[in-house]
């Protein structure tokens, strides 16, 4: 009994117990590692001006310096500190990925809800369009749109948004079509609930777990797509620090073996993408435990 009151009193203890339980399973470990990685990058993004040893846009020393005690990640061709650029690059990566995932879900989820609920011709046409976009390589579509729109945070986010709308649409639509004939929805209809109420009160909440999982996975993909676009020179206009752009820039000096200009921005991309993937993957197994596992 004494033990129980103690656990109840200290929130920190309760969190520790919860994390302890969580870390016991493989799924829980994935969620924790993913969360730590993601939080780490959030921390970098928020406190970039404090953490960064140098200004990322201006030369801090000589160009082409290999990593040393002053410039841990070396300097680029213009003498800018790579470490500071990698830290600041977190901001663009997170900004664009969150913006595009938010926009894609704001468009895709309601469309999916409507198509699934209304059905009929609207559903057929929407599904055909969304399936066609879905079948097309996302990056190439984003390239086309980004090429037309030109560089900039908003433009790149729009390009990525278009790619991910079908993902939300498909998942939500498929769930709604199977949910709408379930008993609890029939029941709500029988007691005279309006369509809008049924959709927002009964159906939407059931699709929520899948939406959260897709969001986490899309954040990972969006960061990759953004990096790809800026690597191809379609991203943010220089000199804003951006990992993809730095990789593009670093490649020009690859043949002279200046490895640090490409190694570190790439590692940053891998770690942040890994963080979101682990989080998404872990949440997926946690929220929809039956998928892909036997027994």
């Amino acid at each position: 009994m004494v033990e129980k009151t103690v656990t109840r009193r200290f929130l920190s203890h309760r969190i520790a117990t919860f994390l302890g339980d969580l870390s016991a399973s493989a799924t829980g470990k994935m969620i924790i590692v993913g969360l730590i990685l993601v939080l780490f990058f959030f921390f970098l993004a928020i406190f970039a001006p404090i953490i960064s040893p140098f200004n990322p846009i201006h030369a801090a020393g000589k160009g082409f310096l290999a990593p040393n005690h002053k410039f841990w990640f070396g300097t680029d061709n213009l003498g800018r500190d790579m470490l500071s650029r990698v830290i600041y690059g977190t901001r663009i990566a997170l900004m664009i990925s969150f913006l595009s995932v938010a926009m894609a879900s704001i468009i895709g989820v309601p469309l999916g809800l409507m198509a699934g609920y209304v059905g009929k011709l609207f559903d057929r046409i929407m599904t055909m369009i969304m399936d066609s976009i879905y079948a097309f390589p996302g990056l190439i579509l984003a390239i086309a749109i980004a090429a037309m729109l030109g560089p900039g945070v908003i433009n790149i986010s729009i390009a990525i948004t278009v790619v991910y709308v079908p993902t939300y649409y498909r998942v939500v639509r498929n769930q709604v079509t199977s949910l709408k004939n379930e008993l609890f929805v029939e029941g709500a209809r029988a007691i005279g609930a309006k369509n809008r109420t049924i959709l927002s009160r009964y159906i939407f909440p059931s699709t929520f777990p899948s939406i959260v999982v897709i969001m986490a996975m899309n954040l990972a993909d969006a960061i990759m797509t953004e990096a790809g676009l800026s690597y191809l020179g379609l991203g943010i206009a220089p000199p804003t620090p951006d990992w993809g752009y730095d990789l593009n820039n670093g490649q020009r000096f690859l043949l002279q073996n200046d490895w640090w200009m490409v190694l570190f921005p790439g590692l940053a991309i891998i770690l942040i993408v890994l963080g979101f993937s682990l989080l998404g993957e872990g949440l997926n197994e946690y929220l929809n435990p039956n998928i892909g596992e036997r027994r």
């Binding site: 790809g228 690597y231 191809l232 043949l255 790439g266 891998i270 993408v273």
Partner: protein
């Protein structure tokens, strides 16, 4: 086998609406987007007369519906317009570069499938053991690696430092084999030109393996998941009860059955493979459609951009038909 033939025809007919939708999407994405093609070509500060002239040349003054019909009509006869940069027909330019992309993606696909099938099956066979955990970690970590970064690391290690392999291009100058299929590896093999074969192989090794390994992450995961489902099916247990050796149970019974869903998803991943090819071709200066598209974007060559995207869409649909046909051939239940 007439049932298979019938299936192929039906499948092709079914692909027509999808192609139409994709063409329409490409058209409208490139026309309706706030960015105007003329501004995109000439830049925002072009003199108004030049802009006007250009608009007329490109047929942009017609109503959008007329433009759309004209665009579809021209595509039907294979007319994708002319490159504003080189003034050559876009389709000709694309077809010149297409074999390089086919060669790269085929090579990468083989690498990815080999890794995927082996690791995926072994992981499923040793579920929750060290092999399985390694395979799952491999899948999730490799998935997080940008293909162009991985390519650069390969260039750094095997090209710049070890000097083992060339870091760019498809073949050394003057080494091209006699052109038959225009896939260098195949042509060199057919004509018995070993020197060319070796040269082309050394060139494709880095980009192809890079792309293959990155895509393999998805294949490992897919094969593993499908194999786990299949290995729990009754006929697998029944095969074991008949004394069939475990390797035959895994690779003959389970894998062959898991193959239909695996192939279907691999078909969907083909789009991802092509997207990866665009990046890989750029990293390794591989002269395919991907690097063509990127180059044309730099020069704002509007007709070429639209043409290559339409061509890629067409390519993807053809591949999806092919995959369905292979499925029907493997699994007799589909074609009946």
């Amino acid at each position: 086998m007439s049932s298979l033939k019938y299936y192929v025809i039906t499948r092709i007919l079914l692909a027509i609406p999808m192609m139409l939708i994709l063409l329409t999407i490409v058209f409208f994405v490139l026309r309706i987007m706030p960015g105007d093609p003329v501004t995109a070509i000439l830049g925002p500060k072009a003199p108004p007369e030049v802009v006007k002239q250009m608009r007329a040349n490109l047929g942009l003054n017609d109503p959008i519906a007329v433009q759309y019909v004209k665009y579809l009509g021209k595509l039907l006869i294979g007319d994708m317009g002319r490159s504003t940069l080189t003034e050559r027909p876009v389709l000709t330019e694309i077809l010149e570069r297409f074999p390089a992309t086919v060669e790269l993606t085929l090579y990468a696909m083989v690498v990815a499938i080999l890794i995927g099938i082996f690791w995926g099956s072994e992981a499923a066979r040793r579920y929750d053991k060290i092999t399985d955990i390694t395979a799952r970690s491999y899948a999730i970590i490799v998935y997080s690696i940008p293909v162009f970064w991985f390519g650069m690391m390969m260039q750094l290690i095997f090209g710049v430092n070890l000097h083992w392999l060339p870091v760019s291009g498809r073949i050394s100058p003057m080494m091209e084999p006699t052109s038959i299929t225009r896939l260098y590896l195949v042509d060199a093999l057919i004509t018995g030109n070993w020197e060319s074969l070796w040269n082309a192989f050394r060139h494709i090794l880095l980009p192809g393996t890079t792309l293959g390994i990155v895509i393999s992450s998805i294949f490992v995961r897919m094969v593993r998941g499908n194999m786990l489902l299949t290995m729990n099916m009754d006929f697998v247990k029944a095969a074991r009860a008949r004394g069939i050796k475990e390797r035959a149970v895994v690779y003959r019974h389970a894998l062959k059955n898991a193959f239909v869903p695996i192939l279907t998803i691999m078909g969907l991943q083909f789009a991802l493979l092509l997207a990866g090819a665009v990046l890989t071709e750029t990293t390794f200066s591989w002269p395919g459609i991907g690097s063509y598209l990127v180059m044309k974007i730099r020069y704002r060559d509007f007709a070429a951009i639209q043409g290559s995207i339409v061509f890629i869409a067409f390519f993807i649909i053809v591949v999806s038909i092919l995959i369905d046909v292979i499925n029907a051939w493997i699994d007799p239940r589909i074609r009946y």
